[in-house]
């Protein structure tokens, strides 16, 4: 009979046999595909795509061997399957997937590097990326398998280790020129430590002894007592806003502060000539957008930590109209974004006015009048905040609809659009002659998309009125605000572009683009989606 370690691995194989088969099929066929393609066809685009799939395969292996597919990061409990804990095997045997996973990944990477990347002309390192992914696997196992007493603790630790990982990679590349032996050594050390942590984590999960920060229990009630003394809410909308803020509103700011804690030490360093200041600013300014995008996936749910998208009965039976329910969510998103952007501004302003940074920035706007610079800066900040809000608000309808398939379909649609766009971009970069042909399509494409958008928008507005989800006044107000935003955005763009670029066609294209970019149906559809969810 097979031994216990084999049985452990067999379980993993059984659970993920299709995915693992796909991985194996990729490893077997990708080098062959690369070898078969004639050189003159251009191997680089193939390597781009197949190589990315290879990275996806490695990520998949990380998920499989850390049991990451069956659980979420925000759970307090260990993600290790509980049935394992009652088997008559030692903790050591239970930690076997860590070794098997590490072996699988270390073996897979050279195959991809030698079979796919190198034949296509990339000087890909042979060992360290594999070891780095192994270290990532080790860290996710250690974090995932250890039980925590507070459900956000794992998230915080994950963000910190993620930051540390990125910093390690950056330092290795920048300071040591990606020395293979050094990197393998560093990541192998990380893996060893996390393996030990994972071993003890399994033990803790088995004993039911979560990692706890007990001092929080002493601090927590002190805040809580004050909360109880707060007075009654003035309106149902305020109560709902309070709920949304407590559930979703603080997520983005907390996320941002955690990430900033990793980033601030880097900001204190003097700038290197390799990384200009404006690029750092752009990366930091992009953070709320990115984090809001991550938080947005849960924003439509009643509770971001809830599994599934079903509206809880308790929420569904509160006497709030779907419109107010969504309004509270949108307001919470706005508050959340304002707080996040405020924090970021407070942190970045001193950095911005540091003499060396100010000098490099002022070089950018030489010859432009101060009033225009201030106006543009203000507008950019306003749009930056508005765009972050859009990140949170525009995707809300997906989860609000309460149907898993809506999420799957929209994610699939988004993903395939992204893949198509990537392919198209690659195609265009390798075939410059086809760019003009594409440009010829623009006058047809844009109006068609515009018509589709107007149709979707008017359909949503009509349904809102028909189902009495919103009063005609509110719908009219929303429409007016939307038109105002579109008009001002167009004006802003036209004001910024030099006069000699203005043609009737270019202005029309700008208007079309702006109308397409600013969500209407996705916002107006949110109450509809909620109504679809609430009254099934």
């Amino acid at each position: 009979m097979r031994g216990a370690p084999q049985a452990m691995l067999w379980q993993i194989w059984r659970r993920h046999r299709w995915g693992l088969s796909a991985d194996l099929a990729y490893l077997a066929t990708a080098p062959a595909v690369v070898a078969l393609i004639p050189l003159e066809f251009g191997k680089k685009p193939v390597a781009d795509v197949l190589g990315l799939v290879g990275v996806a395969v490695l990520t998949h292996l990380v998920g499989v061997f850390s049991y990451g597919f069956d659980a979420d990061l925000v759970k307090k409990e260990s993600v290790y399957p509980v049935r394992g804990f009652v088997l008559p095997v030692s903790n050591w045997t239970l930690t076997w997937p860590a070794i098997a996973g590490a072996a699988a990944i270390i073996a897979a990477w050279p195959l991809i590097a030698l079979g796919v990347w190198r034949p296509c002309g990339y000087a890909t390192p042979l060992w360290w990326p594999g070891v780095a992914v192994t270290a990532l696997l080790g860290v996710s196992q250690a974090l995932g398998w250890t039980p925590f007493a507070h459900h956000w603790l794992r998230l915080v630790l994950a963000v910190f280790t993620g930051g540390a990982f990125a910093a390690m990679g950056a330092i290795a590349v920048a300071l040591f020129d990606a020395d293979e032996r050094l990197l393998v050594g560093a990541f192998a050390t990380v893996w060893t430590f996390s393996f030990v942590a994972a071993y003890f984590g399994v033990g803790r999960a088995r004993r039911g002894e979560p990692v706890a920060w007990r001092w929080l229990d002493r601090v927590g009630p002190r805040f809580a007592r004050n909360r109880a003394a707060l007075g009654a809410f003035r309106s149902p909308l305020r109560a709902q806003l309070w709920l949304e803020m407590r559930r979703h509103g603080w997520m983005t700011p907390i996320f941002l502060v955690t990430v900033l804690a990793c980033v601030i030490p880097m900001l204190l360093l003097p700038n290197s000539p390799a990384v200009p200041a404006w690029r750092i600013l752009a990366i930091v300014a992009g953070m709320p957008l990115l984090l809001a995008g991550v938080v947005a996936t849960g924003f439509g749910k009643a509770d971001p930590f809830q599994r599934g998208v079903l509206l809880p009965q308790f929420m569904a039976t509160r006497p709030v109209s779907c419109g107010h329910f969504v309004a509270a969510k949108m307001l919470a998103a706005a508050l959340s974004v304002l707080v996040s952007c405020g924090i970021l501004l407070a942190v970045m302003l001193p950095w911005f006015f540091r003499p060396d940074n100010l000098r490099s920035f002022s070089a950018l706007w030489q010859g432009v009048s101060t009033s225009k610079v201030v106006a543009v800066a203000t507008l950019v900040i306003v749009y930056w905040i508005a765009l972050s809000w859009r990140q949170l608000a525009a995707g809300m309808w997906v989860a609000l609809s309460g149907r898993e398939w809506v999420g799957v379909v929209s994610a699939f649609g988004f993903g395939s659009a992204l893949i198509c766009a990537t392919f198209a971009g690659l195609w265009l970069s390798y075939h410059p002659d086809s760019r003009e042909r594409l440009a010829a399509f623009t006058p047809w494409c844009l109006p068609a998309m515009l018509i589709a958008k107007i149709a979707a928008g008017s359909c949503c507005a009509r349904q809102l009125l028909l189902r009495r989800l919103m009063s005609p006044y509110t719908v009219g107000l929303f429409l007016a605000v939307w038109c105002a935003v579109v008009a001002s955005s167009c004006g802003f763009i036209v004001w910024l572009t030099p006069r000699d670029l203005w043609t009737r066609a270019s202005i029309a294209q700008v208007i079309c683009g702006v109308v397409l970019m600013i969500p209407f149906a996705r916002l107006a559809g949110a109450p509809l989606a909620l109504s679809f969810n609430r009254h099934r």
Partner: protein, 308 residues
């Protein structure tokens, strides 16, 4: 006290010909039911009979695929606020937000109901022994049900809807819930709709009862009338009979010594005539508990289904 309803009649809940399918399964089949004001209306039936589906229609959580649902004369789907603000709801799978503390739950919920009675809420919390600082998710199942009861009762709703409120709970919590029903109904003009498969509870507190079986209403009416129209009769035939006769209204025959025991529905005298016609005599009559009526009605249906 309350203005007369603008549509239909004075029934608090008026369900007409409601049909609901989930895939190919008919969860509700042409259900027509009216709940008059001021009664305790018990909804009984086996698991999967459609009780919860019916209640979810009343709450507007399900949209009627055919037929109409009116609560307080309004459509709960078109006017959820108008209906839900006058209604208190507690379900078996009580999904109060676990992250809230009890006092936060109260503070949050009271914002929605102008008629919220702080002193009553306070009294209920105290009598249930609910600590305001406790988190809902750390409460036991019984305490969670009690917390749900507080936020469903504290605004003295005109209609209390309870979906299997006491299944899976200990007897003490069940007492609290029954007590809440009794107290609610004792206030003039309030109505209770509750589903349960604990039939002795239903029999204790209901004025009216409707029995659902596989999406259809088997019977609905006042509990007293239902009980009067069901009998368990001992029938003696001259010289005995190897098999019982086929008589109208008999739900089930069981051999009983040399006699036959019939569970019958309908007027007693008609049945006595019918028995006399086939040479028998009713020697004893006993009324049935709701439990026995339920078994007889649903059990028979089951036998019929097997035969067909």
């Amino acid at each position: 006290m309350i203005a007369p309803y603008d549509e239909f009649n004075d029934d608090v809940i008026d369900i007409r010909n409601v049909t609901r399918r989930f895939g190919t399964k008919r969860a509700l089949d042409e259900v027509t039911l009216a709940v008059p004001r001021g009664v305790v209306f018990g909804l009984v039936g086996a698991n999967g009979a459609g009780k919860t589906t019916l209640i979810r229609h009343v709450l507007g959580l399900l949209k009627a695929q055919a037929g109409t649902v009116r609560v307080f004369g309004r459509d709960p789907v078109l006017d959820p606020v108008g209906v839900l603000s006058r209604l208190g709801y507690l379900a078996e799978e009580n999904d109060l937000p676990g992250w809230m503390r009890v006092d936060e739950l109260i503070r949050y919920t009271r914002a929605f109901y102008p008629g919220w009675d702080d002193r009553y809420a306070e009294k209920l919390l105290e009598s249930f022994g609910l600590a305001p600082a406790a988190k809902v998710k750390n409460l036991s199942k019984g305490q969670r049900a009690r917390a749900g009861l507080v936020v469903a009762l504290a605004y003295r709703p005109e209609l209390l809807v309870l979906d299997e409120p006491s299944s899976g709970l200990d007897p003490i919590v069940r007492r609290d819930i029954l007590g809440a029903i009794v107290r609610t109904i004792a206030d003039e003009g309030r109505t209770v709709l509750f589903s349960s498969h604990l039939l002795d509870e239903v029999e204790r507190v209901s004025d009216c009862v409707a029995m659902l079986d596989r999406g259809r209403v088997v019977f609905a009416g006042e509990l007293d009338q239902i009980k009067q129209s069901h009998h368990r009769l001992t029938v003696r035939f001259d010289g005995g009979r190897p098999s019982p006769p086929d008589l109208n209204g008999v739900l089930r025959w069981e051999p009983h010594g040399g006699d036959w025991m019939a569970t019958a529905q309908g007027p007693l005298d008609e049945f006595q005539f019918a028995v006399a016609a086939v040479g028998g005599e009713v020697v004893e009559r006993r009324s049935l508990s709701l439990d026995e009526i339920f078994l007889a009605q649903v059990g028979t249906a089951y036998v019929e289904q097997q035969e067909s």
